[in-house]
Every structure is written in structure tokens, then in C-alpha cells.
């Protein structure tokens, strides 16, 4: 700025801008008052009410170090619905995730796990992985360690519905008295840097969010009867965040505001999910999966439940069957968009036949089954000629014939349990979502941190996506606690470095590792030629090596994934 000839001194001299303001404007001292246009300042503002965002809020509020922080969680949907979620005991949501022991322990420490409905979760102790291109298989379990001490089986992971977790987190947040931090049915219309108020605060480096309430007026009056800690305050229009946390999913506006790029690729695959009913296992381990273990018996203790994953390179990806209580299971089948559309167009009985086929038949048979004309079940209700009935059951008859001639128990002696038979599929539970791989180029910016899907999206084949988000939330909560207990500004870039250095590398390695695994299992998917066959056999050899040959390798892999 050029110098201004001062009327007071009468000679030209350079006065800097701040001093000029100080000299010309009368200073009025203001304590604890903000001008009307100063936005309300929050310590931690989390945008996004998914599992990661809610877990972060619960962690902050449950720790005595950080519970005094002024927090806000902005969620565009109405959070009363997830809070009131309930489902009959034999029906399970098709969005269920596998929680590693670290995630569960984080949720237990913050007190949220107690609010998760324990009758709707299923811990499993073993995972069988095999490949349609060869006869190798890998069993992941902790038997090698637990059998040494005759200990009960150690959990590999726990299946829990996402809605169950969300409800538990919300209940915990309300229990901690932080219900007023929840701004549900609120959208963020813009995020900008604040203004530098000459008489007040300099918020030019602080994110300021403009909020818009989406809820109807009458629903706000309904909340009048609730206790004060429950009632959300009337939505302010502008809030400033000391630390803005982006937990707002794949297309994160917070990430866009921070100017952080997210790179990756679309897999050109869809994940088809459904809730299935399985045929019960043998009667002696049957329905009660929570029976007490007899620690003094010399028999190996049975696993509570088993997860199965079969790789189908020529069909686009693996099919995974993850156990739920009462002989139910959650299925995630990663396959091409065309196959996903085909599966969705089939009647339920044909869908069940296709899933059973995917677990047992050769890829040639599967490709043939996927080429059969799909008979929509709405047509079958109206006309019932023999031709229609035949067309309706052609998947089942084909499956039955091929099962007689398919060797489902290969020579590999290490495979103990054949995959389960699927007997039914829950109505309207078959859905699909696109699979993508993205990772943000940085997890932090000054006053911004990213957790969950905003930071990274990965392939579901290892069941790690949600766990990465929870691990991020845990790490960020610890980072904030460290900053608070050391008198630092929680949003300062140097303070956030602690979080980034803990999580960036680990998240990227996990995402990259899962991607490499996916690529590995897509090799030899080009056709039935000799090269594809050789590649498949080579991969099978590698699987056998991992399963048996190198003693600690499997344990190492399982420790990384837990």
C-alpha cells in the first residue's frame, strides 16, 4: 500500500496498514461480546453424521480431556430416524459391516458398543477364502495360537448392521449430554474463510459454514417436550470452526473447500448386497452360537461362525458370505455392472440359485447361467403356463444338474468346511452400489481434517472400509486430546500433523494393499486360454504357500487386518 501523507504529521512517512487503522479508528474495548455478524465459534465442527463422524463425536465427548470442547455435528438427514431404527429379530438390513477387534475396542472404550444391540451382531472366528480358478484355499483363524492354550476361539471380526451402530452411537451421544451438538436436517450451503473483523476477531483463516435448516417448523415444536440436553438449539446460520472435520462421504464438500484432491479410479464394478438365509450347520453346533465353551475338553473348540469368500476372476470379483445371527448372512458380491443388473432382474428363487452357483460351480457354468434369459417375477405372477414355469426354474434345474457333476470337495485336504447352502433371500434386500478407489492427497489442512469415506474409499473385499473410518476417528480424537492437554490450538496444522502421520500412511497402505489384492485376483480373467489357466494355478500355489508353508505369514496378514 502506498504511503499516505498524514494530515497530522504534515510530512510524508510510511505508515503500515495495521498502524493506520489503529491510529484512525477509535478503539472501544469489548469483552465477551461479539458483533452481530461474527459467526458463532465452535471448537470442533464435524460435517457428516455417518458412523465415522458420530464415532468421533462420541469419542470426544466421552473423554474427560475433550468433553468440554464446543462441538457441532452437521447432518443433512433427520437423525431421529436412525435413533428410532428398529427391525424384527429375523430381518437384517442389507448394509452390514464387518468390524475388526480394534474398531470394537475403540467403540467399547468410548462407551458406544454398550448401546449397540448385541442380539443383532455376530462375531466370527474363521474366514475361508478360495478361488474359482484353482483348488487352493486359505483359512484365516487364530487356531494356531488359541489351541496352544486351549483358549476359546479368538474373534476375527464382528458383523453388525450399520444402522445398529448408528443408533448406538446416537444413543451414546445423547447419554453424554451432547444432543445439542447434533444439527440434524441441516445442510451446509457453503464453506468459506471468515472475514477479518477490524474490531473483533480475525477469522480470515478459519472455516465459516453457512447452515440451512431443512426440517419443517412443526417438527421443531415436537422436540419441545424433550430434556434440554436433547433438544438441538435453533440452527444458527453461520458458524466458525476452530477445527473442521470432514466426515461427509465420497463427494466431500469439506475436502473440496480445503482444496485437497482425491485421486483414484472407478473399478467398473458393482457390489451387490443382500441378506440371505442359510441352511443351518450340523445339529451338534446348530442354533445356539453363544454356548459356553468347555475349556477342559480335549476337542478343539468350535468356531462360532465362519465367513466365506470365493474369488471369481472371470465374473469381476469375489462373492463374500458374512454370518449374521439366526442362520442369516450378509452377502457382498463384487461383479460387473451388467451382472449386477441381471441379478437384480431375477426372481428371488433364481437369485438364490445364482448365489449357490457362485459358491460352488465353475466359472464356465456361472457365465452360462448369467446368459440365461432373465424372467421377471412380475410376469410370472400373471401367467402360469408350463413354458413360464420352466423358464422360472431354469436356473435351479441347471444348478442341480451341474452340482452333480462338479467336484465341490477338491483334493486339497485343508479345506474343512464346504460353503453353506443358501435357502432364501430376504425380500427387497438385493441392491447394488458402485465400487471405487479413492484416496485424498492429504488428510489435513490448516483447520481441516478428513476422516472416513471423505479421506478414502476402498474395495470391499477385505471388509476394511468402515474400519478405516473408525480408526481415523479414534486417531483424530487422540490427536485432539493431545492438543488440548498440551495447550495447543486443536486446529493448528502442526497439531494436526500428529493425526496425519498416524493415519495417512496406514490408510494408504491398506487401500493400496486391497487394490493390489483385487488386481491379483483379476489376473487371468480374460478368457479360458492356457495363459489364464497357468496364471490361475500360479495364484493357487501362492495361496497354498500362504496357507501352510510359511509359518508366520498368515498370522502377520491377520494382525495387519485386525
Amino acid at each position: 500500500m502506498p504511503a499516505r501523507i498524514s494530515a497530522l504529521t504534515g510530512r510524508s512517512s510510511f505508515i503500515c496498514a495495521q498502524c493506520r487503522k489503529a491510529l484512525t479508528a477509535p478503539k472501544r474495548r469489548r469483552l465477551l461480546s461479539t458483533s452481530p455478524k461474527t459467526p458463532e465459534i465452535y471448537d470442533v465442527v464435524t460435517v457428516g453424521g455417518g458412523p465415522a463422524g458420530l464415532a468421533l463425536l462420541a469419542a470426544l465427548k466421552s473423554s474427560p480431556v475433550t468433553s468440554h470442547l464446543k462441538t457441532a455435528l452437521i447432518e443433512i438427514q433427520d437423525l431421529t430416524k436412525p435413533r428410532q431404527w428398529s427391525s424384527p429379530g429375523d430381518q437384517f438390513s442389507n448394509r452390514a459391516s464387518s468390524f475388526t477387534p480394534s474398531s470394537v475396542s475403540f467403540l467399547e472404550t468410548t462407551g458406544s458398543w454398550a448401546h449397540v444391540d448385541q442380539t443383532r451382531i455376530q462375531a466370527y472366528d474363521e474366514m475361508q477364502v478360495w478361488d474359482a480358478a484353482n483348488d487352493a484355499s486359505i483359512q484365516f483363524d487364530w487356531n494356531a495360537e488359541t489351541q496352544k492354550y486351549n483358549a476359546p476361539p479368538q474373534t476375527i471380526a464382528t458383523m453388525c448392521e450399520n444402522a445398529n451402530l448408528t443408533r448406538g452411537l446416537l444413543e451414546r451421544i445423547v447419554e453424554l449430554g451432547a444432543g445439542s451438538s447434533l444439527f440434524s436436517s441441516t445442510s451446509v450451503s457453503s464453506i468459506e474463510n471468515g472475514v477479518d473483523d477490524p474490531e473483533g476477531l480475525n477469522l480470515s483463516t478459519w472455516p465459516v459454514l453457512s447452515l440451512e435448516s431443512q426440517s419443517q417448523p412443526h417438527s421443531q415444536s415436537q422436540s419441545a417436550g424433550q430434556p434440554p440436553s436433547d433438544t438441538p438449539n435453533p440452527t444458527p446460520t453461520n458458524i466458525a470452526a476452530r477445527l473442521l472435520v470432514g466426515a461427509d462421504g465420497f463427494n466431500s464438500p469439506v475436502r473440496a473447500f480445503a482444496g485437497i484432491n482425491s485421486s483414484g479410479w472407478d473399478y467398473n464394478r458393482h457390489g451387490v448386497v443382500a441378506t440371505l438365509t442359510l441352511q443351518p450347520a450340523d445339529s451338534n453346533t446348530a442354533t445356539d452360537r453363544t454356548h459356553d465353551f468347555d475349556l477342559f475338553s480335549s476337542e478343539p473348540l468350535p468356531n462360532r461362525a465362519t465367513a466365506y469368500q470365493r474369488f471369481l476372476p472371470q465374473l469381476g470379483g469375489p462373492i463374500a458370505i458374512l454370518p449374521l445371527p439366526h442362520d442369516r448372512a450378509s452377502m457382498v458380491w463384487s461383479t460387473t455392472p451388467a451382472n449386477a443388473a441381471y441379478l437384480k432382474s431375477l426372481p428371488p428363487s433364481a437369485q438364490v440359485a445364482m448365489i449357490n452357483a457362485a459358491l460352488r460351480l465353475s466359472q464356465t457354468d456361472l457365465k452360462y447361467l448369467l446368459s440365461l434369459p432373465a424372467h421377471s417375477h412380475s410376469d410370472s405372477a400373471k401367467t402360469d403356463t408350463d413354458a413360464d414355469t420352466d423358464a422360472n426354474v431354469q436356473h435351479e434345474t441347471e444348478l442341480r444338474w451341474r452340482l452333480e457333476h462338479t467336484d465341490s470337495a477338491p483334493a486339497d485336504l485343508t479345506r474343512q468346511q464346504p460353503p453353506p447352502f443358501v435357502t432364501g433371500i430376504q425380500e427387497n434386500s438385493l441392491a447394488s452400489f458402485p465400487l471405487r478407489f479413492r484416496h485424498a492427497t492429504s488428510l489435513i489442512n490448516p483447520r481441516v481434517a478428513l476422516i472416513g469415506d471423505a479421506a478414502h474409499t476402498i474395495h470391499p473385499l477385505a471388509g476394511q472400509g468402515l474400519n478405516l473410518g473408525l480408526a481415523d476417528a479414534k486417531s483424530l480424537a487422540e490427536c485432539i486430546a493431545y492438543s488440548v492437554s498440551h495447550g495447543m490450538d486443536v486446529g493448528d496444522a502442526m497439531a494436526l500433523e500428529r493425526y496425519s502421520s498416524a493415519r495417512f500412511g496406514r490408510g494408504l497402505m491398506m487401500a493400496g494393499g486391497v487394490d493390489v489384492l483385487n488386481s491379483l485376483y483379476q489376473l487371468g480373467s480374460g478368457g479360458d486360454g492356457m495363459l489364464a489357466s497357468v496364471v490361475g494355478q500360479a495364484r493357487g500355489l501362492g495361496m497354498k504357500v500362504v496357507n501352510q508353508l510359511v509359518p508366520g505369514l498368515k498370522g502377520l496378514i491377520m494382525r495387519q487386518a485386525s
Binding site: A136, S362, T364, D365, K367, Y368, W401, H405, D407, A411, L413, Q416, D528, M530, S533, L541, K544, V545, N547, Q548, L549
Partner: protein
């Protein structure tokens, strides 16, 4: 839950670790057969049978049982599975695998076939069998393939080999057999068909030249462009016109080998008669 057999310490020393081990049983404890007539073989047995069959069938090409065992021992691990998959990918092939028809003298009654319309596949088949003096029963049963369905595929290949002869018109002499084998290699990729082409060394010079100039190029060209002949449901095609079937499959008819040979013999006889006539005239 380890494997129940406990090998001696020497074999344990020499054996590869379980994931890399390839042998699944010993000759003293053969597993039960998977279908009637099945004989499971160890790797060493398979390799030695393949080598012995190759040498034996080259020495005596009429030993059809050696050619059969050569085919079975060399068809795995990949080639027979590929042929099996080719059948499963095709709707007609799948029907054949479901119905599992067998071609024997009982199922293919020659008297009925001879009555079929002129130029039909059945009539051509019967005519070819009569011309060459063979019957459908000369095919051996498959014994050394472990999977029952793949064993059926091999059996079906063997039993329909004569149909390939019939619609191409190639005779049962070595030259004709080699032409059909070359065609089958380009069409089915079974290693035995390629290995039997080594028998070219047994042909006379003239025959070999003719084979390499005319019949081998025909076989490769047509075998590659034709549809998979294993997927033809011959029992249903008996009344189809041969030309129509050939056109559908994409096979050209090769020059009639017997006619060529007969013409050559006639020519030689005439030349010899002329030489003797002129010699007698001159002398």
C-alpha cells in the same frame, strides 16, 4: 486335522512340503474308481504310459488302443478341460453332456442308416463305414481320465471321430487318418492329435509330399475356422444334408484321397504297360 497317511522319514525328507506336493496317492493304495472301468494313475505311471504309447503307436499305427491311451494320458491338465468347457459354453454341447448319448452298433443301426435319404449324414456315415470296412464298435472305453464328465467328453470325441471321417470323406489309410488328426488338432487342441502327426515319417515320399501340399493346409485352415465339431449332436443330424452340415460348420470337402490314389495307380499301370509294350515291340 492332518492327512492320515504318515510317510516314512526318508520320503518325508525327499517329499516337497504339502502345498507343493503333486502326488496324491501311492500305487499300493489306489483310490476307488470314479466310474466303471476307471483306473487312477500316478504321475509317473501317466508319463511312462504316454511315452510307451507314443513309441508303440509310431511303430505300429494300427494299434488303436495305444493311440487311445496316448490320447488319455496327454489330455490333462489343460486340454481336455478346455474341450469340456467348450462343450459347456455351447447350448448343444450342454445338451449332449446332459443326455450323454453313446455311439455303438446298437445305437447306430447300419440297416436304418443305409435307408436314409441320399446325401444325408447318416447315409454318408453308413457308406463310409462300408467302404472302409469298420464298425462303430472299434472304439476303446476311456479309462485313465479321473473326472467322469471329462471321461465322457473324451469318449464322445473318440466315438465321433468316424463322423468326421464321414463328412470329409477321408479314408482310413494312414494319410487319411493323418489329415483327420491334423484337422482335429486345429479344432479340439488335444495333444494326441498333434503327436500323431509324427507318423508323417512313415509315409512314402509321394504321399508325404501330397500330404504336406494339399491335406495338411486343408486340415489346419478348416480346423481353425470351423465350429467345434465336438458340439455337433450327431444323433440329431443324421437326416441333415451333408452339404448343409458342412456349410453350417464351415468345413470344405477335401479332394477325395482314394480317387487320387486310384488315378495315380491307374496312371502308373498305364505307364508300365506302355513301357513293356514298347519294350516288347522293340525286342
Amino acid at each position: 486335522m492332518r492327512a492320515t497317511t504318515t510317510p516314512s522319514s526318508l520320503t518325508r525328507l525327499l517329499a516337497l512340503p504339502p502345498p507343493l506336493r503333486t502326488r496324491t496317492f501311492s500305487v499300493l493304495s489306489r483310490p476307488p474308481p470314479n466310474y466303471p472301468g476307471h483306473i487312477p494313475l500316478t504321475i509317473l505311471e501317466r508319463l511312462s504310459l504316454a511315452a510307451g504309447s507314443a513309441i508303440g503307436s509310431l511303430a505300429k499305427p494300427y494299434r488303436h488302443d495305444l493311440i487311445a491311451s496316448l490320447g488319455e494320458t496327454t489330455a490333462k491338465p489343460y486340454f481336455l478341460s478346455r474341450l469340456h468347457r467348450a462343450m459347456l459354453n455351447n447350448p448343444t454341447g450342454r445338451r449332449i453332456l446332459r443326455d450323454r448319448p453313446r455311439i455303438t452298433s446298437k445305437s447306430m443301426k447300419l440297416e436304418e442308416l443305409r435307408q436314409m435319404p441320399e446325401n444325408s449324414v447318416g447315409r454318408a456315415y453308413a457308406a463310409w463305414l462300408d467302404r472302409e470296412g469298420v464298425t462303430p464298435d472299434t472304439r476303446d472305453a476311456v479309462r485313465y481320465i479321473d473326472d467322469p464328465e471329462e471321461a465322457y467328453v473324451m469318449q464322445r470325441y473318440r466315438e465321433t471321430h468316424d463322423f468326421t471321417h464321414a463328412i470329409t470323406g477321408l479314408p482310413v489309410i494312414i494319410e487319411g487318418e493323418l489329415a483327420v488328426k491334423a484337422f482335429e488338432f486345429a479344432n479340439t487342441l488335444l495333444p494326441m492329435t498333434a503327436l500323431s502327426l509324427v507318423a508323417i515319417v512313415r509315409l512314402k515320399k509321394v504321399e508325404r509330399q501330397r500330404f504336406l501340399e494339399v491335406y495338411m493346409p486343408w486340415a489346419i485352415r478348416n480346423g481353425l475356422k470351423a465350429e467345434e465339431v465336438i458340439n455337433v449332436y450327431w444323433e440329431e443330424e443324421l437326416e441333415t444334408d451333408v452339404e448343409v452340415l458342412r456349410a453350417r460348420l464351415g468345413i470344405e470337402k477335401p479332394p477325395d484321397l482314394r480317387d487320387i490314389r486310384k488315378a495315380l495307380r491307374e496312371q502308373k499301370r498305364r505307364q508300365k504297360a506302355e513301357r513293356e509294350g514298347s519294350g516288347a515291340g522293340a525286342g
